[in-house]
Subunit: 364 residues, 2 copies
């Protein structure tokens, strides 16, 4: 062979690695250390890190080997400064159901696992007029990489406008198509509610009521109208006096159920707009000395963890909240990477039959 001795790639790499190994103990490595040992420039290392195509394969291999040897990971703070945006992903929420929130958190965390991104929580109060300014200053100060917006924050167009102006990526989670496929996760709440209606109809209920969520949530509308549609399939309707308005919370759910119980015509089945209100409904039924499901059947929505902890276990419409969170996180990352999804990502709810809804008692 006529190899030039000092250009033997294998030997070169072995040398570099030996040097690097000797350095190991000396605290945390920086891009400069990598460059030094690989005998290339900072910039080349940066190219390797960012998968730039402008690096010779051999160089790339060498640099990668040294990075691995030193266990180097680029410093997010420095990167954030140079890039002009941080590695923070904010979850902005104003959701009355804590169960929903935790579940979604977990999902987002799942989706962010093994990345440099960190989830930061931004609970807000949409009723508070300061909310908007607080969020704005958070954005200006921290330059978050992106925001995940579950309902009902996802429906605030003014907020979206602001995000656009500040060039912040976001993913909206909503029950209606509010945005482009790259920027939203859709749930078909209406269809889920229709399933709930079909279930109750098939059990033979006629006096059916609905505890509706707050007007400020699109999902509350969707769930109601889907429910009505489902009832209509069996020739039933939802008269106004069978709708009790509530606020997606335990307390309002409880009060709404009380109103239904003491109304002229007591329903034999109630569809609550979310599990939180259904939980309140349970208590109202019990306080009235009635039984679930013998006297009143109850169906919820969301399938939050509490559903399975109630007794009798709550029949509910399952929304895969955690999976939605995961999908939202991934979508945000994809969006930043420039990969658009083929179509809108949506999740179909599905009824989970447990024990809280059975056929109505005969007679009256």
């Amino acid at each position: 062979m006529t190899d030039i001795p000092d250009a033997d790639p294998a030997a070169e790499m072995a040398d570099a690695l030996r040097d690097a190994a000797a350095f190991r103990h000396t605290g945390r490595a920086t891009i400069n250390d990598i460059a030094r040992f690989a005998k290339v420039s900072k910039k080349t290392v940066s190219r390797v890190i960012n998968d730039s195509p402008l690096v010779k394969p051999r160089t790339r291999t060498l640099v990668k080997a040294i990075i691995a040897e030193l266990g180097f990971t680029p410093d997010p703070r420095a990167r954030a400064l140079a890039l002009g945006r941080s590695f923070l992903i904010g979850m902005v929420y104003d959701n009355p159901s804590p169960q929903y929130v935790v579940n979604m958190q977990r999902g987002i965390l799942d989706g962010l696992e093994d990345t440099d991104f960190q989830l930061v929580l931004r609970p807000v109060n949409r009723a508070d007029s300061n909310y908007w300014h607080r969020l704005r200053s958070f954005i200006q100060q921290h330059k978050p990489f992106g925001l995940i917006l579950p309902p009902s924050v996802s429906e605030d167009e003014e907020l979206i406008e602001m995000l656009r102006a500040h060039d912040v990526d976001y993913v909206r989670i909503a029950s209606v198509e509010l945005d482009t496929p790259a920027r939203m996760i859709r749930t078909h709440d209406a269809e889920g509610a229709a399933q709930a209606a079909r279930h109750l109809c098939s059990l033979g209920h006629v006096a059916i009521a609905h505890i509706q969520g707050p007007e400020t949530f699109r999902s509350a509308h969707e769930r109601r109208s889907g429910f009505i549609r489902g009832l209509a399939e069996s020739g039933r309707s939802l008269p106004d006096e069978m709708v009790a308005q509530a606020g997606y919370t335990f307390d309002t759910g409880l009060q709404a159920m009380e109103r239904l119980i003491y109304a002229k015509r007591r329903p034999t089945a109630v569809f609550a707009g979310n599990d939180e209100m259904a939980t309140g409904a349970y208590v109202a039924v019990r306080k009235a000395g009635l039984r679930i499901p013998e006297d009143i059947s109850i169906v919820g929505f969301d399938d939050t963890p509490i559903a399975g902890r109630l007794w009798p276990a709550l029949t509910t419409v399952r929304l895969p909240i955690r999976e939605m969170g995961r999908a939202a996180a991934k979508l945000l990352l994809d969006q930043a990477a420039g990969n658009a999804p083929a179509g809108i990502i949506s999740f179909a709810p599905e009824i989970v039959v447990r024990e809280s809804a059975t056929a109505p008692a005969k007679a009256g």
Copy 2:
């Protein structure tokens, strides 16, 4: 007056402010802009920001006025890079009760409000051998400002060792005195459990059982031993067969309760180590066709939101979890600022009497 004209402070400030105001629209201001308008160096502005005493009052006033005029806020990313640590506060938890976790999150968020600090979530699985390394690399990469460690993570001395080595501040929340007052928040779980015991004894219960939390949690021990102490005050004891081992989760609580129900001697009252297990106990009691509290009284621990959502409402020992979170956040900030608390901060639990425990039915 013999004032030198161009040294008139008021005029000087007015000039500077006018210049600054004209600049306003030009996007976000940086420390350089402030320095330019105030006609001082970057460093002086930095001093003002950091409340250094080495600034002449007049200069300070001028700089502050311009900062206010431009709405300047220092960039946390740049600060983080220069300071060598980020403004992230991590909550590291491995808690089987989601309710506990959300509540504490809210508290920490409360304590961090209006600061530059951001809460990041680090759920871990202590059983996973990777947990330690993952956390370590999080620390090395992100250089968090500090960590908040609720039980049972707070009890991991090996982890604490690592934090010390990496010079990361932390606050531990635990039921025993594990650390110095500046580094921990203490809860007197044993005392709370004793209150539960006294309550049950005063109601006249004799056949009293305990659903105990996992061995890996100090709190489980504390709660058990405190409970035993409380029983002893009334001359009662807790025989081994009246203790059912569980894991702080709904499912294990349910199973533990089933074991107690079908044991030779069925208890008339049960003290569950946390609300999550108490919720499971509810279901077990109902499944067995028994009533709460008529057949079996139940007392929980924590007073998580679910306690008030059950029916009958759960009598439980209230731990002010949210307040604890807030206190932990503040303590961490104080610690960094060099302010040590006078003594250890502790929270005394208190029994909250609701409906799930009454006097046992007469006869047998």
